[in-house]
Symmetry: C2
Subunit: 425 residues, 2 copies
């Protein structure tokens, strides 16, 4: 698994986000399209937007796949009490996902396709669509009930996330039994894919929450996040080690080997508030220069993060509460997570900010759809974010309002079914 897993990805422009890498560069409330970052400074053109991403393989697509520019993350609740219904649904979802992401629907369209497809993505090309499925805790144990006889197979790593300092989670934006992250280079293609899955789920499962997202990235330039800071700057400083940080190994149930755990967080950013701060304050908050992306005290984007650097009076150049410091790899035992996040923009709604000056009113309903994949959330997101939630100066401007954690089973071969090893199908 280990070797071939690497082989599968060797030709891809992947990157692993170290805690001291992109997290520090742009904030945990930031998005990082994987496709661009490693190519920074090169002239290699991006792949055509309507390429097909392989659906079958050792791992699910959409994890190590270079990030597309658009996403639609959806979470479903199961309404059925029958495990056979769940299996049949996953069978249908697998078939639909394979058909959509290999472009079958789009590349040889006839009117008959509209009998099973809502049609709005016809003509848009595969657009590098990937669909990545996950299983929530509710699949194994819902309110103490072992609905599907799967309770004994629940991975220990599939934890309920702890309460983090400052969490203001909205009930309707948390939890869920099944997840799917659709990514594509066209927003209509990503949304369309989830709609076909929802259609197949009628009577079995309904959408619990969903969020669309986008990346500003295009061409070969590194993007800035909505806070205006460069993102994806220092990744990876070390060779990518998917087997160590991303893919589940022998430590858990066999059915998860080669899978990964996804944590999704909807993080509203008080952008009006942020935009009122002067540049120096913003840079002290992040720990980096906004224009160049260099660490405070450094000159270039790629300069290493020197946490011991001090001014002539001995004060640290990178403040004790700077996001870059708190998130730095050396502060987190070198733990790394693979981010696959985006920005979101739902317009403007009423909000009461939780920090001074405690403004309340209509503000941008926008921020980060933070998504990360890891081998174990306990040593990944939870470890890194627990410290951030308590110490990070950026917390003045961000509020986590949505949350989910899901076990993403490994990939499959043609004819297989997502989760086949869990269900023994």
């Amino acid at each position: 698994m280990s070797k071939s897993g690497k082989d599968m990805n060797n030709s891809r422009r992947n990157f692993l986000v170290a805690a001291g890498g992109a997290l520090a560069a742009g904030g945990i409330a930031a998005h990082t399209p994987a496709a661009a970052a490693p190519e920074l400074g090169t002239a290699k053109p991006a792949a055509p937007s309507d390429d097909i991403e392989p659906f079958y393989g050792l791992h699910q697509s959409g994890i190590a796949t270079p990030a597309q520019t658009q996403t639609y993350f959806a979470v479903f609740d199961l309404q059925t009490e029958k495990v056979d219904d769940v299996k049949a649904l996953l069978r249908r979802w697998t078939d639909v996902a394979a058909r959509l992401s290999t472009g079958t629907t789009d590349l040889s369209p006839t009117p008959a396709v509209l009998k099973t497809d809502s049609g709005e993505a016809l003509g848009l090309g595969p657009s590098r669509l990937t669909l990545t499925f996950g299983f929530g805790a509710g699949l194994f144990d819902k309110a103490g009930k072992d609905r599907y006889g799967l309770k004994s197979k629940k991975p220990e790593a599939l934890i309920d996330l702890p309460y983090f300092n400052g969490d203001q989670l909205i009930d309707g934006h948390t939890g869920g039994d099944l997840s799917v992250q659709a990514c594509a280079n066209n927003p209509q293609v990503a949304f369309h894919a989830v709609r076909q899955l929802a259609r197949e789920a009628q009577g079995i499962a309904t959408i619990r929450w969903a969020q669309s997202g986008f990346s500003a990235q295009y061409g070969d330039k590194a993007p800035r996040n909505l806070m205006g800071f460069k993102d994806g700057t220092i990744n990876p400083a070390t060779p990518i080690d998917y087997d160590r940080f991303v893919w589940a190994g022998d430590e858990g149930p066999a059915w998860m080997r080669g899978g990964s755990y996804v944590v999704a967080r909807v993080i509203r950013i008080a952008l009006e508030h942020w935009d009122r701060m002067d540049l120096d304050y913003q840079e002290q908050t992040i720990g980096r220069h906004k224009f160049s992306g260099a660490p405070l005290g450094g000159a270039k984007e790629a300069d290493p993060l020197d946490l011991s650097a001090a001014d002539k009076d001995g004060n640290p150049l990178i403040p004790a509460t700077a996001h870059a410091r708190i998130a730095a790899a050396q502060m987190n035992d070198g733990m790394q997570i693979l981010r696959r996040g985006y920005s979101y923009n739902n317009g403007a709604t009423f909000v009461a900010e939780r920090w001074p000056p405690w403004h309340q009113g209509i503000e941008y309903d926008a921020g980060s759809l933070f998504v990360c994949y890891q081998r174990d959330p306990r040593t990944g997101f939870v470890k890194i974010f627990d410290k951030l939630s308590k110490l990070d100066a950026m917390n003045q401007f961000i509020t986590h309002i949505g949350s989910g954690v899901f076990a993403c089973p490994p990939g499959i071969a043609p004819g297989g079914m997502i989760g086949e090893r869990l269900f023994g199908a």
Copy 2:
């Protein structure tokens, strides 16, 4: 005005949406990127996404400009009681809009730019950004008060929209004193532009409501709307007559000559419900074939809409309540409006559908950000939509939840100020 206005637009790939044109093709709840439609079937490539659209001219940019792929529509409430504050704000907005849409910020960036710019669009190019400003009724008369001495200058055409059958407008998504539609080929560029305007408005005006939107269109293909039907099919059947249908003339106040009136509607679509309907029912609802885009009874997308066509029993091929029939030009005295609409996708929220089977629960919070420009809303949107709201079979699936109407003053020359003729500046 008339001749030169035409000259300005001759070289552009504009089109005018006849009531019987794109409205009928894809539904009023549909988006129509203007750039692609007239080129359907040609191989001419789209302009590079980072082109600059002219900011100065007889008309504001973003109306006759070929549609970009992304939009952010924002509406502001004025908090000041002083007309000088409003004038100063419009002066700043004009300067910021000119700077952003001509790419000044982006094309020669130095760190100093971050003193006045939040920075998240640096490196993304001008992306064909346009900013189109409008004045709401509240600028002229707020709760009976003539705050700024402008009441006598209010155009008669700047009406409050009447209640339409089925309206379920959300209070926080209607009205407003000032509007701006940002359009660009990158979502972060459009949003960034409005953020800079909001920053300039601190203490003077705050955002009341806002909505981002996207078009699926890319390359030279005609897009489908979220209902899966082709959009922008028959436009225009006649030469574009902006002076007749889009630009305000001598019928209103002099300060609006060369301007236009924008109507914006946020239209939620019950997509789950729609996706459960079989193809035949969908086609009877729209009055067109989904796959080909041809009118029912026709064979090709470009076939004319024959409202008298009947089957052997004398039943109309295009049903009496079909959207295409109700919206047809011949049903609306030939009136035309220029659409500049997009789809929106805010995730999923609770909703109670207003038609059988009266489902309520979590559903897609997605649909159409319908935007149209016209010479007079009374003879444009109101005339066409009043009939649609009563008769259109599509109403089973759409709900208007947001609404605004704004007077967009004419364009300006360098050194000018948006609305200069209204304020006598």
